[in-house]
Every structure is written in C-alpha cells, then in structure tokens.
Symmetry: C2
C-alpha cells in the first residue's frame, strides 16, 4: 500500500464529486469528508475550491517566466512561440486530467472566468517580454500587445481543438499556427511590406486602377449609415 498523501486524496475526491454532482453542488466539506480529512486540511493544501482544478498553474507560469528570461532566440516572437509550445506540452502531459478540467470549465461560468484570468497572466508575461525585447517606444507597445494576443489566441485554438478530441497531432498544429502568427508580423522592411502601420489601405490591386475600385469603395461606405 503506497501511502497516499492528503493532497492526492483530496484531488481525487474533488474530481469524483464534481463528476457526480457538479461543481457548484459540491461543498468543500463534501470533498474533505470523502477524502477522509478535516475541512481545515483542505484549505492547507488548496487555497480555494477552484485551485483543486488548477493546482500547478503557478509553477507553470514561473517556469515559463524563467524560460523567457533565459531565452536566446533570435526574435522575441520566436522565443515566445517556444514558450507557448512548453505550455501546450504541459497540458498534453496532463492528458485526461486536462480534458476533465476542460469539461468542467465549459460548464461552470465561474471556472471559465478563472481559466480566462489564468490565460491573461500568460499573455501579460508575453507582452512584457516582447515589449522589453523591443524598445519601449509607443509604437512598439501596440505591436507587443498584438503579438502576445495573437500568440495566446493561436495556442488556445490548438489546445481547445485537442481538448475536444479534434486534433491528432496538436504539436504539429501549434507549430503551424505559430508560423502563421509569426508570418503576420513581418520584420520591419518598409520597401517590402505594402501596408506600413499607420496607413489606411491595406490591400490593393495590381490589376485594376483606382477608377475600377471606386464603385466598390462607394458601395462599402454607403452600407454604413
């Protein structure tokens, strides 16, 4: 008999009860009772009822932070993309546990909000890293914001696909998604990129002249009162 720690028994009991009755219908007393420990012990191991579901999130966040600060990639966006891959791998290692958590967060709004708040912390980390990597000038601030948002969005997209069982090879998908994201932000080359930040028209025809475009423009404009 390997002696189970109270922490493990609590986690097991919590997920059992969440599956049986649902999250909100389960009290902390219920969890502690089934785990065979006192209510106080629960709060010693988990700061809140929600934390049973997201136990090692803080550690992961710290790992990602460390990974970024010791990064030696060529560009900030690539470094962040690598870090994102780490996050995805973490979920993949969790396996079924991650899927059970996903099932819960999909049903319970409070947990969904908590999950979103967690993701926002990663995004903040990424944003600060990117902003620090570039200068902290005003224009690059928006760029850093957009980059971090895009990276996180791409990660979430692939992760949710895998959680739903729609992805057989999420690692390959996240790599592809990250390439897409990196492709969105071309290295500053005003001669090559047609639409520098601050300009209005972003796509244009090499085949039609302006006159041919005008009717289409008018139609689009008039559509909005």
């Amino acid at each position: 008999m390997t002696k189970q720690t109270a922490r493990e028994r609590l986690a097991r009991a919590a997920f059992e009860l969440f599956d049986e009755r649902g999250y909100e219908q389960t009290t902390v007393d219920d969890i502690a009772d089934r785990a065979g420990v006192g209510r106080t012990t629960f709060f010693r191991h988990y700061r809140s009822k929600e934390e049973v579901i997201f136990p090692d999130h803080d550690r992961l966040l710290a790992r990602i932070d460390g990974r970024l600060t010791t990064s030696s990639s060529g560009t900030a966006l690539v470094a962040v993309s690598d870090a994102v891959r780490l996050v995805l791998l973490h979920y993949l290692e969790e396996g079924d546990l991650a899927r059970r958590r996903y099932a819960l967060t999909s049903k319970v709004p409070a947990l969904r909000d908590r999950e979103i708040a967690s993701v926002a912390r990663y995004q903040r980390l990424f944003r600060e890293f990117i902003a620090g990597w570039m200068g902290d000038s005003g224009a690059s601030s928006l760029r850093a914001e957009l980059m971090s948002a895009a990276v996180v969005a791409a990660h979430n997209h692939v992760l949710r696909r895998w959680l739903r069982g729609d992805s057989a090879d999420p690692v390959a998908e996240v790599d592809a998604a990250m390439r897409d994201v990196i492709g969105l932000f071309p290295v500053a080359d005003p001669a090559a990129s047609p639409a520098a930040p601050g300009t209005t028209v972003v796509a244009f025809s090499t085949g039609k002249g302006l006159d041919a475009l005008l009717p289409e423009l008018r139609r689009l404009l008039e559509g909005d009162g």
Copy 2:
C-alpha cells in the same frame, strides 16, 4: 431636488467607500448603510458587490451584439472594428467613472479578473461573428481567433492609454490601431478574390468619409503601381 433612486445612492456610496477604505475593506452592509437602505435592497439592484462597478456591461454587450448582427460592412473585420469603436466611445462617455473603475481594477486582483472575463466575452462575440462571416472551415477558424484577439488587444491598448491619461485623442488612436490590425490580415474576402498576389481593396476604416480617404488611396495606389 430630484429624488434620487436607491440605485443611484448605492452606486455613489459604494464608490465613496471604495475610495476611502478600498474595495475589500468595504462590506455590502457598509454600502447599504451609507446609502440609507437595507442590505436586501442592495442585492435587488446589483447582483453582486462587483456589479456596482460594472453596472451596464451586459447592456453594452447586447448592443454590440445587435450592432454586429445588423452590420452591413464589407468585411467582418471592418464591422468588428466599428463595433470596437462603439465600445471605446462608451468608456469615453463614462469619463471620470471609467477612470475610477480603472483605478480599482488596477489595485484589486479580483476586479481585474472580472474585467478580463468581461473582455473575453466581447472577444468571443467577435470571434463567432468573424467565424460566421467566413465559412466555418478549419483554417479560417484560427484566422477568426487571431482577428478577434488582435482587435480586442488593440482596443485595450488604446483604452488603457486613455485611462492612464496618456492619450489626448483616443478615437483617432483607435482608428489608427484598427487600421494596423486590418493591415495584419491581408485580404479577407473569399467571394471577391482568392488570396493571390494582386488582389482587390477590401478593407478600410469607415471612420472617415470616402472623400477624406481618396487622397490617401491615390497616393498609395500610385506609389506602388
């Protein structure tokens, strides 16, 4: 004297107390007492203590939803950009109230998380709208995710600049930021043209009239033609 409603007195009392003692140090009883009403009345007007700070968020979300579904812009991204401008304007109209809320959410983690969750609902709205506008094919799903994330990030960037007092003309800034975002995603009109080099103008901000855009259009088209 216009007779103040209980709802107004409660909001005023709440913000007073939050300023004096901080959010967590203020109980619902404190608020109700200062407003001169019973504790029950508080929860009749606000579902929770947090909702005093974000009162009409649901209405705004519904307004944005309606705006999107009745939109007739040329592209989904432009329609969403216009909706984003509405959101920004809502905050601008709130004026000092929005800044006080910002001061609170900056200090209190629980409120920050709540704010993030609210923003996520907008992003979800945008993502679903964009995904519906395109086909629901797999590839465009990631694209919709990236677009909505970028739009929301740009909005938040400008909004926070204004909230901090760093922006004198946030409307102009958000227009510029939206143009940047649209510029990230070249051509998003499957009906008009395939995504081959040499495509047609499909995206521009409706913030300006056509006349104001024409010189810029001419300059860009002639410069690259």
